[in-house]
Symmetry: C2
Subunit: 155 residues, 2 copies
């Protein structure tokens, strides 16, 4: 098992764009969610991964398995309807860490969330100037919730 | 994608035991279930499989992926609590088909269900004398429901 330790922030403005080192489009969907467990399919850059996340906010158990791309795309189109997210993820280096800035599309257009993975729950990352309100523990902003929710507050 | 075509029956008596060709113990649990999609982990005979089943009763889309045994057992113990089934599965040959007779344990002890997989939804299997009421379309008897439900009627 891996433990994913992650903090998430709303993003203010476009100041992060100048520091982007890599961008890719993500299509992800949730096969099912129950009692804090989420089973997610994600397709990006020609590859597909099935991820099982356990309960938690700042730290969550996480298991990842590669799955055939064609099957993942089929499942996204048939089994994840109404529980999908399309977004572009930009890597931004700040304070020695890679921040992933997700620009959402479709019904969530206008929403931009930055995630930073940490190697220790006690580590306090240096916050970039474009990091707004922290939403790590706000269940409305989990990707699993965003996939099927009406658009949440952007500010 | 595979399509699983399966009919399920309650089992009457012990007449099937004389024709058992193979038996093995299954430990399975549900990571999550949502809108007819179920994500199941099953451990048997030293191997583990993650199965995604789509909506349906007689015919359901099904995707299967092998996962590492140690990770599957860890997930069953931590992420599937309250959504697990322990049973012994016996293969029984009848009418040219393999019938799988599942003898449930724990809170479901006393429940015995026979499943037969068909290659065509229109195929009518020869029913063995120990096949009781059909429960194919009865949502109370799906394994996903049995994993967390109070015991259903046995007759």
């Amino acid at each position: 098992m891996g433990i994913e330790i992650e903090r998430r922030f709303l993003v203010l403005g476009d100041g992060w764009r100048a520091a982007v080192t890599r961008s890719r489009r993500l299509h992800q969907g949730y096969l099912a969610r129950e009692e804090g467990v989420a089973v997610r399919l994600r397709v990006t850059d020609g590859g597909a991964v099935l991820t099982i996340k356990g309960p938690g906010h700042l730290a969550r158990p996480e298991y990842e398995y590669a799955v055939p791309l064609a099957e993942a795309e089929e499942m996204l189109g048939t089994l994840c309807t109404g529980r999908r997210i399309f977004k572009t993820r930009h890597d931004v280096l700040h304070g020695g860490l890679v921040w992933e800035v997700d620009v959402f599309e479709g019904p969530l257009a206008g929403l931009v969330i930055a995630e930073v993975e940490l190697d220790d729950v006690a580590r306090v990352p240096d916050l970039p100037p474009w990091a707004g309100r922290e939403v790590t523990a706000d269940p409305r902003y989990s990707n699993a919730a965003l996939a099927s929710a009406a658009a949440p507050p952007r500010g």
